[in-house]
Amino acid sequence: MDSLKKLESQSVYILREAYRNFKSLCMLWSIGKDSTVLLWLARKAFFGHVPVPLVHIDTHYKIPEMIAYRDRLAREWRLNMIYGENTAALAKKATFPDGAVDRLQCCKHLKSEALRHTLSGEWPRYRMDHASGRYEPDTDQAPYTGVIVGVRADEEGSRSKERYFSPRDKYSEWNVSDQPPEFWNQFKTDFAPGTHVRIHPLLDWTELNIWEYIEREKIPMSSLYFDQGSGKRYRSLGCYPCTAPVDSTAKTPADIIEELKTGKFTNIAERAGRAQDKEDAGGLETLRQEGYM
């Protein structure tokens, strides 16, 4: 078995454990390459089906192609597609740059809070109605006790301490210094009422693995990742006020793999195009502990 196949098998095993052990399970889909690979792995795990709802946190500042791509795949693969948002912050314009808050505050409102309250079921969820193709308020408001997330350990420091199954307390907080033991593919699948577990099937993958897998499996990706002739493309997708494309003429996954292998980005962090990461070094870990991935 080559290393990509090993990674795939491990991720599939984790997804199946999650599905078997959590009654109220969902998967976060940011539309980015990692969580799209995760979605594909779910199809692997469940033989073409995706038996868990996909939750997208819509900041309404996402690059429009992202939303179009989300809805296209949702229809094609008949996904149980749900989105949530921070309606109040959007109405008050407690956002960046058109409101009086900075980037991190904006992230906190539109991502952390929206995510936390969408998962807990306190704020409305909107579900795609496949008959009409529109989103309707979801009648299911039960909190999700298992949340599958596509983080990778190589992304940044705080993530290398993660587990595949990582508990969060009532306030979605992550206790970095007291993590459950995890060995022999036995995970933390038992949890006290009121808490939930984050599940990380992609923990062992690298950015290069992700693209190699996209190439091997021919996974349809958002066109934003590829140069459409302007000499620019996105390396990481996010909200348009805070995400900038990088200079690159990569037009296919194969081009991107070549780029990563030859070291074009060796010394540039993957999220360097994300402005909010720069505002304060500890900010990301804080956001993360609060529940933003």
Binding site: F46, F47, Q179, P181
Partner: protein, 595 residues
């Protein structure tokens, strides 16, 4: 060509020099970002602190809080031979569970011992736990040789003491290497300061350890993770999903599941977005469809019918290590997770607690405390399937969950057969106290022209089982036999009070059926019943209950376990009943006096 990868964990007593070994390795193999080393050295100089490689690691991964490594963090370095991931496991005892987590992902362990301080409690504990977790290949670095004047005698003192300890727990390290991590002696290249050392430097030794291969020729073990039937888009497949632990499986292979004993044949190998395939190999997360609609529970182990089967038992001997906040005690029910199976479990006996202070004085205690390593006896309510650690280690591994947390891990090292089970004792006592009437059993048999019998009809179709059982009663009765059809659903109408919880419902059903079977057979009847979804364990219990009368199991189709008579399930219910009657006569179970 993919480059070889190897994951290595570094363990040892706190302050014996793990961080220094890693820092030095990263520096000397050119694996550091440019200027990083000088930058950290400059910061130290500015703050008038002596430079430590640990600071370098801090700077690299912002990994430390409270001055101790709190988790197994990873560092990467390359040699000409391969790429290494090195997991820095915390040496502080409080973080044993993190050390275990790190070690379970590694192929090789590097154990660092301070030459001056010698073997310490955690040196021993880490040695034991790393080996139990499955890392059998251990390289021992006797570090800080500069502090003992690079003296051979000091090195040998430490090595011999530790070698003796490891021998007692059956571990043979690959090598003992005298090093000074701080000075860089014998890490990357051979040191001139210890000409008495004939072996290779650390990195040379590490590069020679082959990447672990799955041992070939192991029998198939496929722990069933789940059974899927996703009907969306007209999908008709009923897929048994899981990951092959060992061996290979092919479409067409006759298979058997443990502990249930059910049998079938692999119809197809299922995988999404790949060309159709006929076989699957160990390590693959895959799915199978079967030729029969078996009722299976997750946690069963599938193997080939011609392969050595796994063991099944309710009591076994295990080596465990405990990381739970509260001790592991007797008379409390915990949850056992082994492979994909789960079961309630109890601690029955503690055989020995290995004291990391001193191996020779194994202590007796009533509980297994946090960070103890122990040999003990565990008991589950229904049998689980497993292999012994010495046969197939992966299938011997389990964890114990206490109050939502994984609190311990272990490997099964021996199987125990309880002398006489509580059930057997019950039956013996019952038979002793049984009060008989004036009619002797032989008189009754002569009058009825047969002895009491208990016949079970089973197969994949509940409907068919029921139809055959009823027709069998009819035809036996029409032949003048004392036949009685007993449906298990009737038991819940009054004989049981329905108060048992779901987990025990099956046990209770078998118990009542068995006790009733004992009465009816004693009364001389041929009791016919149909059972669905039972496994080998249930049938064994039923036979014990019905004792001294006999239980005959008629299986329709090839999948049923423990059958006395196995029939093709393509026949009509009427024909099937007729064949059973004929067989009962042929076997002299129903002597034909009409001759």
């Amino acid at each position: 060509m993919h480059r070889e990868h190897m994951t290595v964990v570094i363990v040892g007593h706190v302050d014996h020099g793990k961080s220094t070994v890693i820092g030095r390795l990263l520096a000397d193999t050119g694996s550091l970002p440019e200027g990083k080393l000088d930058q950290v050295k400059a910061t130290c100089a500015r703050n008038a602190k002596p430079f430590e490689y640990a600071f370098l690691l801090d700077a690299l991964k912002d990994e430390r809080s409270q001055g101790i490594t709190i988790d197994a963090a990873r560092c990467f370095f390359k040699t000409a031979r391969r790429d290494y991931i090195i997991l820095d496991a915390p040496g502080h005892i409080e973080f044993l569970k993190n050390m275990v987590t790190g070690a379970s992902r590694a192929e090789v362990a590097i154990l660092v011992i301070d030459a001056k301080q010698g073997v310490q409690e955690n040196t021993r504990r880490h040695g034991m736990v790393v080996s139990m977790i499955g890392v059998k290949r251990i390289l021992v670095l006797v570090n800080k040789m500069d502090l003992v004047g690079y003296d051979q005698a000091a090195f040998e003192r430490v090595s011999n003491a530790f070698r003796a300890f490891l021998k007692e727990i059956d571990i043979e390290p690959i090598a003992f290497i005298p090093v000074s991590a701080f000075q860089g002696d014998n890490l990357i290249s051979t040191s001139q300061r210890m000409p008495w050392y004939q072996g290779r430097p650390f990195l040379g030794e590490l590069d020679l350890i082959p990447v672990k291969e799955q041992p070939a020729n192991l029998p198939l073990r496929f722990p069933v993770q789940d059974i899927y039937k996703f009907t969306e888009n007209g999908d008709e497949r009923r897929i048994i999903a899981g990951t092959l632990a060992t061996g290979t499986a092919r479409a067409g292979d006759p298979v058997v599941f443990y502990p249930s004993g059910k049998r079938s044949t692999i119809r197809s190998v299922e995988e999404f977005n790949t060309p159709p395939r006929q076989d699957a190999a160990s390590g693959e997360a895959i799915g199978f469809t079967l030729t029969d609609e078996l009722y299976l529970r997750p946690g069963e182990i599938m193997t080939r019918q011609d392969a050595r089967p796994p063991r099944t038992a309710t009591q076994f001997k295990a080596n465990i290590f405990w990381v739970g906040r509260t001790p592991f005690v007797k008379d409390k029910t915990y949850k056992l997770k082994i492979g994909t199976a789960q079961s309630p479990v109890k601690l029955v006996d503690i055989l020995r607690i290995i004291d990391a202070q001193d191996l020779s004085s194994a202590v007796r205690q009533d509980s297994i405390n946090r960070h103890d390593v122990a040999t003990c006896v565990l008991e589950v309510t229904r049998p689980i399937a497993y292999d012994l650690a010495q046969d197939i280690e992966a299938l011997s591994r389990f964890v114990i969950v206490d109050h939502f947390e994984i609190a311990g891990g272990g490997i099964i090292i021996d199987e125990l057969r309880p002398d006489a089970s509580t059930l057997e004792q019950h039956v013996t006592n019952r038979e002793k106290r049984w009060v008989h009437g004036l009619v002797l059993p032989a008189e009754r048999a002569a009058a009825y022209r047969h002895k009491g019998q208990f016949i079970i009809v089973t197969g994949n179709s509940a409907e068919k089982n029921g139809a055959v059982a009823r027709l069998l009663e009819r035809s036996l009765f029409d032949n003048g036999r004392k036949a009685y059809y007993l449906n298990t659903a009737n038991l819940t109408c009054g004989l049981t009070d329905g108060s048992t919880d779901v987990a025990d419902a099956r046990e209770e059903e078998i118990r009542v059926l068995g006790e009733l079977g004992r009465v009816l057979t004693d009364a001389g009847h041929i009791v016919v019943t149909d059972l669905n979804h039972y496994d080998a364990y249930d049938i064994a219990r039923l036979k014990t209950f019905v004792h001294p009368f006999e239980v005959l199991v008629v299986g329709l189709g090839a999948s049923a376990p423990e059958t006395t008579l196995s029939l093709n399930d393509a026949m009509s219910p009427g024909d099937t009943a007729a064949v059973i009657c004929q067989w009962l006569r042929d076997m002299d179970i129903l002597p034909d006096y009409s001759l």
